[in-house]
Amino acid sequence: MKVVVAGVGKVGHAIILQLAMENHDITAIDCSADALEYVQNTADILTIKGNGASVETLTEAGAGRADMFIAVMADDETNLLACVVAKRLGCRHTLARVRSPEHSRNIRFFNDQLGISMIFNPEFAAAREIFRMLQFPSFLKRDSFAAGLVELVEIHVKDGSPLCGVTLSNFQSIAQVRSLVCTVERDGEAIIPSGSFQIKEGDNITVTAGRRDFNKLIKNLGIAAPRVRNVMIIGGGTISRYLAMRLIEAGMSVKIIELDHERCLELSEFLPEAMIIEGDGTMQDLLIEEGISSTDAVVALTGIDEENLLVSMYAKHIGVPKTITKINRIEYKDVLRASGIESLISPKMISTTEIVRYARDMGHSRADSVITLRRIAGGNVEALEFIATEETRHLGELLINIKLKKNTLVACIHRGNQIIIPTGSDSIHIGDTVVTISRTSDAVTNLNDIFND
């Protein structure tokens, strides 16, 4: 598939790398020759220097014949204009990054009137994900499928947990709810385990379970954590604003610490219920004064990775039950996870995953396409949601009789209102929503890809 990416910043670069690994033909546009040279050295792509919104540059980049155009330049308005131009030139699908809250309300208008296929907002998506983490602090990460009825949750197996030493075939008897362990992360390696696998302390496991069974699951696995009632946010950027709005709606009390005076005034105007503190959120004195030790959760959202990590480590050290850390340099995630910083959030990765899903979905015009794509277990494993159609093979056959590819499994089947955490005696029927687990490197694009024949 031909893809043109305008803007090679942090997000643009991550998108290009991901799509290059999925073997698309990519042309990148940027006005900085250095940025282009850097990306050209890391991915097999064509680069064009120029303004990504100008008709001339887009024509030269072949946007008119492209299947997909992604605008990730600095300004929202430039991105929107670039998408409109690319669409007029004849590009099939246009995607724009729009991050300002003012424009985010008009997504419907952009889709319908301007013909832009997808508007994505990394900050908004990040805020949503942080909010979901705070809803259930017992889980490191949550990804939902089947319209929110089923979730994949990540759990850290602590020393003394009832799960230590349990083989996966006995997992059900401890959890006492319908659930399935999909991945185990051990020593930086992601494993898609079989029934005889034994859980050890220190593992990070991903479990599928129905949304309704969450409370039981948390209780039975011994990972109960107090409900989050008050949250301290360090850094008052766009994510903080989106997040605070949601938290306040959910009835939590929010305290935002922000250095910039103008920004503080702005936040206070938009978020009258939140407490806005002007000051350096990385200063220990200020954090203590503002009562960091008695907050239920600390979310570090400054623009600097190092500061975020420092704040999170300190918060963890003094016993804050839940810390969430934003990092941009996601390549260091393995080191950070190994050193105990678990709930990491990277706006760039969330958007990239969403675009990869869109690209895979486009590759198949038929109905059995990717509805949801989530990266789990540090990004090495993918959970994909498909709808089974008449083209799906092995319909109605018992799962125990179907040979699946190595390192793949069916995590969940959603039929009507029914959620099935499948065992060997279940089967896939037409119209089912199926969640599969596979390695990211296998790049599954179709439900049939998981069958080994």
């Binding site: 033909d25 042309t27 050295n41």
Partner: protein, 492 residues
């Protein structure tokens, strides 16, 4: 230095060379040339065994390249290609000295066309074909060819963290010109497109020559030699052995192969307007026509009429500016003035991104524009001026790299000249030999002229000129880098 990747790609290239010898071996077999087909079999077997032995054990994870590996791979492969490519000449005992065989093979691969043979027609057909075939494969590049036919190159590696940007380093190190870009996003597709254009043009020339009544063997070998802008003839009389029609066809195709291949891609994809705007092409044709006219006037007394003078001067200019080195007449006997114009043309060479040698038209343009700018800034010393080609700014780093390139080029030529002086040959002979070899032209003046050859030189001179030819074809840096100690240091 990722040694595993190094071995993998070098192994692949040796296998490609083994494959490239198969047509020549077949011709030897068909002609019943016992010694030479056996020599080919032995060489092919050796190449295949070594190639497989060093490339097969390399797992997919270890194939990651950086620009450093790209440069080393190109340099080492070209040396090995020459070392093994010389084996059929030597093993068949048709060229008894290995140094001579090596010289001949380097001359072939680098598309120089300088020969040590005094009687080409005595050589077995298979070896004659191999000589011309080395021109063809060396012209567009062996690594470019390897990438075009390597299925792995079309799939981005999912195991490494890079999306496959590394392959461009290989193409950049092998393709002539200061700025090497891609035609389409994937490096391997770009390589394939270049070869498709290349094969297409070669076939077209073969057809035109066959129409002119040239024998099939000659038509194919001469076309291979023209495509690579090499210049090995297959007759002792050179191109004078063929009809005027054939000479014109050869001259036109030489000119075509001296044009940047990106222009053909633009034309094929319908961007004719952009193709015709290329500044480098304008200058290339400008030099071509201007020097043809000047030389035609200068040599008019040597021919019966003006048309004949134009015909031969056009052929000679096309042959020299594209650094092919074919000859229809012995231009050695032409006036001194013409000699010096031809020497200038040898240095300038063809366009970047073509199969021609020389310093390339675009480098001459950048240097000239840079010089003009520095003169002007003496008058207005606060003036800011960016050097542009095709309306696009040329980065200052590129300009300074071009200047450095020319400096090194002059120094290396001077050193070679010094070594050749030990051979006690005349200044014109040694000077023209170095210029003809480092620019991959082939014939020089004097004994090394259009109807002469390099057989009278000492082994030291032949090796020096072989190194010059490799330096010229790979545009100096890869070969020099090979001898930099820091290249091989673990952290360097």
């Amino acid at each position: 230095m990722n040694t595993a990747a190094l071995l993998f790609y070098i192994g692949r290239i040796l296998i490609v060379e083994a494959l490239a010898m198969i047509p020549s071996m077949t011709i030897s077999l068909l002609n019943g040339e016992d010694m030479s087909w056996r020599a080919f079999i032995v060489t092919i077997a050796t190449l295949a065994v070594i190639g497989l032995a060093i490339s097969l054990p390399v797992s997919k994870k270890n194939r990651e390249l950086h620009s450093r590996e790209g440069i080393v791979i190109v340099a080492i492969s070209w040396i090995l290609l020459s070392v093994f490519g010389a084996m059929p000449f030597f093993l068949s005992r048709e060229i008894p000295s290995y140094i001579d065989a090596f010289f001949e093979c380097v001359s072939g691969l680098t598309t120089t066309g300088a020969t040590i043979l005094t009687d080409v027609e005595a050589l077995s057909r298979g070896l004659v074909f191999w000589r011309s075939f080395t021109h063809w494969i060396g012209g567009m590049g062996v690594l470019v060819f390897t990438l075009a036919i390597m299925p792995e190159a079309y799939k981005s590696s999912r195991t490494t963290h890079t999306g496959g940007g590394d392959l461009l380093h290989l193409v950049q190190a092998e393709t002539p010109g200061p700025i090497v870009g891609k035609l389409v996003p994937k490096t391997a597709h770009t390589a394939a497109i270049l070869y498709i254009i290349y094969v297409g043009l070669t076939l077209l020339q073969i057809i035109f020559l066959l129409c002119g009544g040239m024998p099939a063997f000659d038509a194919v070998t001469i076309s291979l030699g023209t495509a690579g802008t090499g210049g090995f003839a297959v007759r002792n009389a050179g191109i004078a052995a063929y009809s005027t029609y054939c000479q014109v066809v050869i001259a036109i195709f030489m000119v075509l192969f001296g044009v940047n291949f990106n222009i053909y891609f633009l034309i094929l994809t319908g961007n004719i307007r952009r193709a015709l705007k290329s500044e480098e092409m304008h200058v290339y044709f400008g030099i071509l026509f201007a020097t043809t006219a000047v030389i035609a006037v200068n040599v008019i007394s040597y021919f019966k009429n003006i048309w004949e003078a134009i015909h031969h001067s056009f052929f000679t200019v096309s042959s020299i500016i594209t650094t092919t080195g074919f000859a229809t007449v012995d231009f050695n006997t032409w006036p001194q003035f013409t000699h010096y114009i031809l020497l200038f043309l040898m240095v300038i060479g063809g366009s970047s991104g073509s199969t021609a040698g020389g310093i390339k038209v675009i480098r001459s343009m950048i240097v000239t524009k840079g010089a003009m700018h520095s003169f002007r800034s003496m008058l207005h010393n606060r003036r800011v001026k960016v050097i542009t080609i095709d309306g696009k700014a040329i980065d200052e780093s590129v300009v300074s790299k071009v200047n450095v390139y020319l400096n090194i080029y002059v120094v290396l030529s001077a050193i070679s000249l010094l070594i050749l002086s030990l051979d006690a040959i005349s200044f014109e002979e040694s000077f023209s030999s170095v210029i003809a070899c480092i620019n991959n032209v082939g014939p020089g003046f004097g004994r090394m002229g259009a109807v002469g050859n390099y057989s009278t030189l000492s082994n030291v001179s032949k090796l020096t000129l072989s190194v010059d030819m490799l330096l010229g074809r790979l545009e100096i840096y890869p070969i020099i880098m090979l001898f930099m100690p820091s290249m091989w240091r673990r952290t360097g």
